[in-house]
Subunit: 291 residues, 6 copies
């Protein structure tokens, strides 16, 4: 089964979930979404589940725009401080649903190459937006994302080269900035070979691997809980500046950081946290306001 482009939406942790208990959404996707199921399993934590289990969570046309809508909604929800993203059922995703999208990609309308090109560029830009929305949130305020890779039998694959195209929704741009070895990135992207969870861990693609799905989801929610308990001012500032650093020189990053913190250091959270530290308490003992 195909597991294409999965890496594209992993600005933070990135992992695969082969088997996930649909704890959060017994009835499946929340209207008006048909491919995503959203729930709040714990305080300040939003669980977004890719939910087309009968199609192995393949990404169809609806998915591309629902992702944008979903994360724009989350960005407006001050109660949400961290998002867990996973796939419903045994598989994270089978990748692009080629059948569903064949009309768009394989038979674009028109006879002039330039006009077909124009049309395709807008389609690709729209699909890219699906994953970029998660990062663009610096301007919107989206909380960080938690994802985890499951078990020995999970694998990751950049499948596009097998279907005659270069991956264009973000894999070739983000994967080399997520793992350290360019040799490995090249091999994965040019041969479409599978990478199993062991290699995903040793290469740095994911930071932890779990023995089975329950441990995985428990682990993901535990990390999410750690983040949700901390000052949202500190968490958002950290996330936004990490993203900024990825695409800028150190000197540029420092200038942005100093400009960011000239206001953020004035937060009450700093005093509250310092007070708690003096009293030998941790961040979980401090009630932070919404951001």
């Amino acid at each position: 089964s195909l597991l294409v482009v999965r890496v594209a939406f992993t600005s933070l942790w990135l992992p695969t979930v082969n088997t996930v208990r649909a704890m959060s959404s017994p009835g499946g996707p929340v209207p008006p979404f048909t491919t995503l199921s959203i729930s709040r399993p714990a305080n300040h934590i939003t669980h977004v589940e890719l939910h087309r289990p009968e199609k192995r969570n393949a990404m169809n046309k609806a998915f591309w725009s629902e992702m944008v809508d979903c994360f724009n909604q989350i960005a407006e929800d001050p109660e949400c401080r961290v998002v867990v993203f996973s796939g419903a059922g045994k598989l994270f995703t089978a990748g692009i649903d080629l059948m569903n999208m064949a009309g768009d990609l394989l038979q674009p309308k028109g006879s002039d190459t330039a006009r077909i090109s124009w049309y395709l560029r807008r389609i690709v830009a729209k699909y890219q937006e699906t994953f970029s929305v998660i990062e663009k949130v610096p301007l919107l305020g989206l909380p960080p994302l938690v994802m985890y890779l499951l078990s020995q039998d999970a694998w990751f694959q950049v499948k596009e080269v097998d279907i005659g195209l270069a991956a264009d929704v973000g894999t070739l741009q983000r994967l080399p900035k997520v793992i350290g070895s360019r040799s490995l990135v090249n091999e994965l992207a040019l041969t479409a070979r599978k990478m199993y969870s062991d290699e995903a861990k040793s290469s740095g693609l994911v930071s932890r691997v779990f023995p089975d799905k329950e441990a995985l989801m428990a682990g993901a929610f535990e990390v999410a809980g750690e983040i949700a308990a901390r000052s949202p001012v500190a968490v958002q500032g950290t996330k936004i500046n990490l993203l900024y650093s990825r695409d800028h020189s150190v000197a540029e990053g420092l200038q942005f950081m100093a400009t960011w913190n000239m206001s953020m250091l004035q937060t009450h959270d700093l005093m509250k946290s310092a007070q708690a530290a003096l009293e030998k308490k941790g961040p979980k003992d401090v009630p932070f306001s919404k951001l």
Copy 2:
């Protein structure tokens, strides 16, 4: 023995070959090349061998311009879809042939420092071109390169600091973008210590290590075969966009990718591949036209 600058030409896989059977070029270098031997061991695969075994493949003056000529020729060969690069004999390369190049570098002509500087800058730029030509091919259409590191006893070394200079043909620029650990890069470049194949693997410099030379060459040609069998439209698009991503932000990379694929998605290869996938066939069962 010296193994300088080897990493410089490793935009894709990078490995060392200590012992390679000169299967491809029984008579040695193809005229007009005196340092390179070129052959076609399989369909769509070009094998370029650094071939001065009596000098441990040290890079002399002829090598610098032959590399540029060789890869420019390959870029014009529509039958070539992937290149395997290795060294003839037991050693990949002993690095720069200092004796051969002493006249250029150690005793440049002239008495005015500025004019000697001007001369040296052009020499260095010319040597840099030797390795950059492999990457510049985005505009030329050069296929990707496969190289693999051999066995336990192979090693890699950035030797320049031992001869009183900073490595200037690309090692200091590319090595930090190839492996993840900056501490390791610093140590290798500042102390000139050897890195053996185990560390080359764990650090991500190479993605695989083989027990002996036959396994190595077999492995290299197997990967080359995987790439050669796939759509050249997909392979070249992947390679060009991976190189572009290395030097640009994610947002820049996505914009370039969308612009690239507005034409490349119109390829017949996409339909052929989708058709094959429906018929449970793989890319190797599909005949793709030359690019």
Copy 3:
């Protein structure tokens, strides 16, 4: 105990020293420094020790400006070719001395938010300078820095998120460029969990781990000795171009490198080294002049 921001000053090797014998400065900090102790344990090697053992080497207000003064002094010392940086006593550093700095950060003066912001931005920029001074030395001529992580029980922690702020003296900018795995960087920075020496090694944060403090310091001075013995022209050129490469594209790095070496290749050190190599000697047998 807190081990914040430690990664910020690790442009080269980076390591933690939990237990270090104050061999170099029996009497503690050299006037006029109150937080740093400086010595010359061997030829061309300067040892800078963070020296507030009674406070677990926490960084107080004096530290921020003493670091800048200290490294500016070192940059003027032609006898120094490499710096070893460590912490006095059992711990490398407990991080920011919150109590000492509370006045500056928690209770900035003034009632207008914009004016407080202006004040805080200058404070943060000044603190950033503490660690950037080590890198800026390209223009000043500071020698490279050696640091090493100790033993099984040493750990590293990005603690800021626990006290309600985003780390702003360089951790979020430099850590992602030092280790390859972005998943790991995100997890460390967003959850403030500890990373022990094993993970520090496997993730590439440090290139070696030692069993105990004596082995650690011996190892650090051995590497320092390797560097100090080499041509300062080669070492500085390598360091400056590695830093340049970190923040530039490969093409930009090559152009800078060619411009750098148009003068540096004219050094006598090249001929001396080539001569030594012919005589089967190593760099340690060659006397190089001061830079």
Copy 4:
């Protein structure tokens, strides 16, 4: 009267219209817009009029989101090839409607500085989007924009410094890239002095000045007609690459251009135009398809 930030939305021509006949929208704004009036005065030309004449076209809260909606709609209209943007009544715009926006900017809710900062950053980003939407259209396909400055008595002013803030919706970013003299930009932005039409012309802010409003609108529609008559493939490609060039080096711009034209040169418009040129016809005699 105030004429703030007018320069912000002038990615192409930029001019002020002090007196404009509301020829296109006798009844005022088209629902659902309350601040913009949209019409099609000629084939392929869309006229967008800032239409709050009773408030001297001051920009109120509704304006900020209506602009985004309006230009997103235009981007979906294949019949529109060029947009003329002007202000209804005697004045182009009085700038920001401070009274209307006072609640947002002067009295943001909340007591924690960091949280107010977060809120304000999202507001500013949203306002910036109002003008950036006109440029972002490279991905959307928005046609170029025509605007013209009127007469001797028209003036332009960067007013923000007079109300205690730095202009933040794009003036400080775009003005220096629109006119050549940085001295002039600095003076305008730091002293808020008025610049009249003569200086706007000689400084390059606008390319033409007209004696009165009728001549102005006639001139704007004439230029719009010139653009609308040409191949939309050529016009969009020119616009997108000019914008790309503004923010990139020449080498980057050339690489993007070559990638763009690898598909766009395959348009039938090229053959049609070449044919027309042979027949001594101009672009206006050639019927081009929609893009």
Copy 5:
């Protein structure tokens, strides 16, 4: 007489002063400065005068470091909101005082080219700092600078090419970003021809020209007064973001601007100014606090 490099320090207005009444410093340079005279001719305005009239204000060794010290002092002076920079006596400056600096530049010590290069690079970097300090103040808080070109007989000249070197303290970097015509920049820098005040005005190098020295100084102080009267929060924010925009893309500039204003919009100056505007008052009628 030589008028080299004058353009280098003109991040804001740039002008030449051939004849300036030493109104501000009757006794000449203020100790400890020997080349600069500093005074406060009006509230919030600092006048810095290049003061070696007997040497036509040629820049000697003392000048290079005094400039840095002087502007660092000004950056710490909260009463100063704008700086006027001019030359004492009839001439602004004759440029570099070659005789005074001959020892440094023409006869550097040492026999190894690499070591002389290293020494020269530090000298040049130090001289560059002289002019960069005026811009770096974004981190320090330096107020903007006012300078004005005098009269018909004033001229500007990039003289370096006549003495055998490429201008290296900032002219080649800043001049092309100050005036719009690259043809003119090239001609000035490659032929060293004089540019008189008329051309300086029409090319955008300066924004105004005055008939004689009294009018010039009156004009400079009038503009300085305009700036000094405005909110320092607005003025500094404008200056810093204009400088940032010069070196960044529009998108980067907008992101920085939004981050900057998320705190700066919280200033009381905004409400005070809005209140004043309602009462038909201008910024000069509003008392703003120090920054």
Copy 6:
């Protein structure tokens, strides 16, 4: 008649020559060139003439590669210090010779869009190289270029939009960096209107206009003589750093400049020039060695 893309090759002065006496090449193009005529009208000055007067100097297929060959040859000629570029006969150039190139551009071979795209991208890249070669010479050592616009009746035109394409050999990339007004650039590129010599002068496209062809050529050679007489170390350093500055931030430009001059300041030309200045001589009185 068409005057397309003329601006593309004007990294230094840029002008049009409608009527030029073929003084330099009585017999026409020098073999092996069929479109270019090369001569040495004075010491150190090379005159390159676009020479297809019967075709109004239209750029045909031969032209594209001859330009590259010609300037590569010049780069190897140490006697040449400056190049004058003009067109033979009455017209500078009619632009692209559409008829000659129709086969390449209008009827590319093949039926797969991706493969035609690939072919076209290489063609465009090759044409771009024609003009980029003049700038790339920083690595090659090409002298600066002088060109001048003639008289009242000369005009400049970006013609591509009239033939259905976006200009792709450099106009859209370089024109906005040559003249200051973006409004004017947009208008020229989107409407293809003619710009006459007066506007070319006032907009900064050229720095001088001459009354007739003799005055023009005399003026061009006079400026060329000024440049040729100066130190080639100073001239090349100035040219290379001006080009570098165009595409980099001020801080980047300063760092490159300091690195450049660390060797170039060691030239004997500096001492020679200083000596001459003391003796009240000018650069023309000093004999400088070849570079």
